[in-house]
Amino acid sequence: MTAISRNSDGYAWGDSFLSRIDPRVKIAGFAGLLLVNLLGGSYLVSGVIAVAMALLMIAGRIPYRRQLLMISFPASFAIFTIISQTVFMGGEVFASLGPFDLHLQGLFNGLFISLRIIAGGLIVVVLGVTTPINRLCQALRWFKAPATFIEITQLTYRYLFDIHGEFSRMRDAQQVRLGWSSARAGLASSRLLGGSLFLRVYDRGLRSSEAMRCRGSGPVVNGALPRPGKLDILAGSGAAIFISALVMLAVGVAA
C-alpha cells in the first residue's frame, strides 16, 4: 500500500548469489548473451538462452510474480510480431483472413522472432533485477561510459524514488485522512496530488541540491569496485563456456 512495499528494486539490494557477482562480469556475460541471441539466428539458441535465464531466475529466487509482470511487455510485442510476419512474409499461404493472406513461413519466422524477444527480455531482466544501480554505474564507469551519462543516470534514478516516494507519501497521507474513501473525495484528492506533485518534488530536489552545494556540489561518484573474487571468476568462466557453447550451436545449426 505504501511506497515502501512497492519498491521495485528491493530485490536488487537483497542478498543472493546473483547480486553478489561482480557487475563487470555480469555486464560482459549478459552482453555476450545478447549478441549471441541476436546473431544466433536459430530457435535452438534463443530457446536455450530463455530456458537458462528462467532457471537462473528460479535459482536466484527472483520473485516470480515480478518475472511475469516484467516479461509481459516484450511478450505482448511477440503477438504483434507474429501477426505482422504471418501477413507480410511471402511463401505458402495456409489461410486467409479478409483481405490478408496468412503465410506459413511468416508464421514460423514470427514465432522465431518472438522467442528471440522473450529470450532477450529475460536476459535484460535478470541483469537489471540483480544489480543495484550504484554497482551498475561503477561497472559502467570501469567500461569507460561517459561520466555525464552515468551522473544523469544516477540523478534520474534518485529522483525516481523521490517522485515515487513523494507521490506515495502524499497518497498515503490522503488515504489515511479518508481522501480516497469516496469517488468525490478521490477526485478532489487526485487533483490536489497532481497539482502539487511536481512542485513538491522540485522543492525537495532544490533542498537536496542545496545540501549538495554545502558539501561541495560535485557529481555523486561511486567508489571503485573491489577486485573480482572467486565467485566472479567462477561466474565469468561459466558464462564464457556457456556462450561459446551457444556460438558453436549457432554455427552448427547454420551449417
Binding site: S8, F88, G128, L155, D162
Partner: protein, 219 residues
C-alpha cells in the same frame, strides 16, 4: 512504445546506434558544460529525467495488437531544458527502463533513442519555438509541441518496426499499415500528451517562471 530487445535484427540495430550515439554524445558534451556553469540545474535535470522515465512507462493497451503504448515526456523536457539535454534524458530513461522493466531493450536502445529521445525532443522543440514566434500562447504552443512530438515519435517507431518486420512487402506499405493500426491508441495519447505538456508548462510558468529561463521565446 519502445521496441523490445531481440525484435530488430542485428544489422539494423547497429545502424540505429550510430545516429543515436552521435546525438546523445553531442548532448552530453553540452550538458556537461551547462552543469559546470550552473550546478543548481541538477535537481531540475534529475527531476525531468525521472518524469520522462515515469511518463513513458504508463502503459495503455493498443486494441487488437496486444501491445501497449504510452506518452513520451520528451516534449516537455525539451521545452524546459532544450532538445539536446532532453535527448540525453530520454536516452537515460530508455536505458533504465530496459534494465528495470524490460521495457525497450539494450540492442534496440539506439532505435528507441532515435524515435523517442531525438525525434520527440527535436520535433517538439521546433514546434514550440515556431509557435511561440508565430505569437501563440505558451499553453497552446506547448500543447502543439506535445502533440507533434508524440506523433513524430510514433511515426519513427512504426517505421523502425516496418523496417524490421516488413517481410516481403514494401517497407512503406507496412509502415503505413503499422502507423494506421497504432492510430486509434495514438491519437488519444497524443492529445493526452498535448494536454499534459501544456498543463505542466503553464503551471510552471505561473508558479515558477524562473524554471523556464530561455525556453520561453517571447512572441
Amino acid at each position: 512504445m519502445h521496441i523490445p530487445e531481440g525484435l530488430i535484427p542485428a544489422q539494423q540495430a547497429a545502424a540505429w546506434y550510430v545516429p543515436a550515439v552521435s546525438f546523445v554524445g553531442v548532448g552530453l558534451v553540452g550538458l556537461k558544460r551547462r552543469l559546470v556553469v550552473k550546478p543548481e540545474l541538477r535537481p531540475l535535470i534529475g527531476l525531468m529525467g525521472a518524469f520522462v522515465f515515469l511518463i513513458s512507462l504508463i502503459p495503455l493497451p493498443v486494441p487488437g495488437l496486444g501491445t501497449v503504448s504510452h506518452p513520451c515526456g520528451t516534449p516537455m523536457a525539451a521545452i524546459l531544458l532544450g532538445p539536446f539535454t532532453a535527448t540525453v534524458l530520454g536516452s537515460v530513461a530508455l536505458f533504465l527502463q530496459s534494465l528495470f522493466f524490460a521495457h525497450g531493450g539494450i540492442t534496440s536502445w539506439g532505435a528507441n533513442v532515435i524515435a523517442m529521445a531525438v525525434g520527440g525532443s527535436f520535433s517538439a522543440y521546433g514546434v514550440f519555438r515556431v509557435s511561440r514566434r508565430a505569437g501563440l500562447g505558451i499553453g497552446v504552443a506547448a500543447g502543439m509541441a506535445g502533440l507533434i512530438g508524440d506523433l513524430v515519435t510514433y511515426g519513427i517507431t512504426s517505421f523502425q518496426l516496418a523496417l524490421a518486420l516488413h517481410g516481403d512487402e514494401a517497407v512503406l506499405n507496412v509502415w503505413g499499415a503499422a502507423f494506421a493500426s497504432f492510430l486509434p491508441t495514438q491519437v488519444p495519447l497524443a492529445i493526452a500528451e498535448a494536454l499534459f505538456t501544456a498543463g505542466v508548462v503553464v503551471f510552471i510558468a505561473n508558479q515558477r517562471a524562473e524554471l523556464l529561463e530561455g525556453a520561453v521565446v517571447r512572441p
